[in-house]
């Protein structure tokens, strides 16, 4: 729902990192977005295409990798990956306890970008 605001941030960060690096064109931007995000990849790209017009990032492709949610067991401290659908239903695969804490799955990271 707030894809536009997020996309503005992505563009700001990309342009900041391109500055002074002799970049003529940003080809691809690699993003890592946690499984708990409800943002639509397609809309992020649409907004990016619109916002980036006339900048070095025009026509850049957003390569979005979904990072899994990771839970940590409060009883035995083991951590394991779950899908979004398994959240709220999961039990620790080691000890079977239901007390689990989310340790990853909320991230919104720009990892790197391919430039010319």
């Amino acid at each position: 729902m707030h894809e536009l605001q997020i996309t503005e941030r992505i563009l700001d960060i990309v342009l900041k990192h391109a500055l002074g690096q002799d970049v003529t064109k940003v080809v691809r931007i690699h993003l890592r977005i946690g499984a708990l995000s409800d943002l639509e990849d397609e809309w992020i790209q649409h907004y990016f295409d619109y916002l980036s017009r006339g900048t070095v990032a025009e026509n850049a492709q957003l390569a979005i990798r979904r990072a899994p949610a990771v839970l940590c067991c409060l009883s035995c401290s083991c951590s394991f990956e779950v899908t979004r659908e398994e959240l709220g239903r999961a039990r620790c695969p080691e000890c079977g306890e239901p007390g689990l804490e989310l340790v990853a799955g909320r991230e919104y990271l720009i990892e790197n970008m391919e430039v010319l």
Binding site: H2, H17, D22, D38, G88, P98, E101, E111, V115
Partner: protein, 234 residues
């Protein structure tokens, strides 16, 4: 010039800016000794009514202010102002959530020197507000009985970022097939540290326990000494 593709490392978190503003706000509020509470829920879960009832319960102990966020209306702010409570209306103009900068603007319009607790009534939405740190000391969410016990499965993020879950409209429980036990299990699997209070903002059920929690949290934030010294009400 080479036309070979080069890789530039970025490693930057998109929300980092907002988190910086939120942290700044938190230290400012700690200095001012103002406890900021962020209240989130879907539309119609009973945020405004819960705020009013909570203030009624704790008015003798704390001086309250309210930040009302709405996409485009002042209905809630008018209700709060009618009770003589300091309130600021934030119109998000289509935005689905509040971020720390918007909260900072709203707080600037309140006199924090005469307020102990400020409650943010976030935009009614179980998705977006969960992603943005507002600078609040604590996050509280409401799930109302008519919304159904499956909401933790549909909107997991909201339940993972909240310190407290208020299950509101408990007076509807007998009229619905809401499974309280299943809901609790789902929530605790997402967030084992969350505090759950069953309330009804209509009948007042459960407000003693909820108000006691808020009172404890706010007192420990504000400090016991200032709580006694600052007994002059505006």
């Amino acid at each position: 010039m080479s036309d070979a593709v080069r890789l530039i490392e970025v490693k930057e978190e998109i929300h980092a800016d907002n988190e910086r503003v939120a942290q700044g706000l938190r230290s400012q509020l700690a200095q001012k000794k103002t406890f900021l509470l962020n209240l989130m829920s879907s539309p119609g879960a009973g945020k405004t009514r819960t705020i009013l009832k909570t203030i009624d319960a704790l008015r003798d102990r704390f001086r309250f202010g309210v930040l009302e966020a709405d996409i485009d209306s002042t209905v809630d702010a008018e209700l709060v102002a009618a009770r003589g409570i300091s309130v600021v209306q934030l119109r998000t103009g289509g935005f689905c959530h509040l971020d720390a900068s918007m909260v900072a603007k709203g707080l600037a319009a309140l006199d924090l020197d005469v307020l102990d607790v400020v409650v943010i009534e976030n935009v009614g939405n179980l998705v977006c507000p969960a992603e943005f740190d507002t600078g609040a000391a604590r996050n509280v969410m409401i799930l109302s009985v008519p919304e159904g016990d499956d909401k933790p499965l549909k909107y997991p993020l909201m339940f993972t970022v909240s310190d407290v879950l208020l299950v509101n409209k408990m007076d509807y429980l007998g009229l619905s097939d809401f499974d309280l036990k299943a809901m609790r299990e789902r929530v605790l699997r997402l967030n084992p540290r969350i505090q759950i209070f069953e309330i009804s903002a209509k009948t007042g059920q459960g407000f003693d326990q909820w108000a006691a929690w808020l009172s404890r949290e706010a007192s420990s934030f504000i400090g016991p000494v200032s709580g006694i010294l600052r007994d002059i009400r505006p």
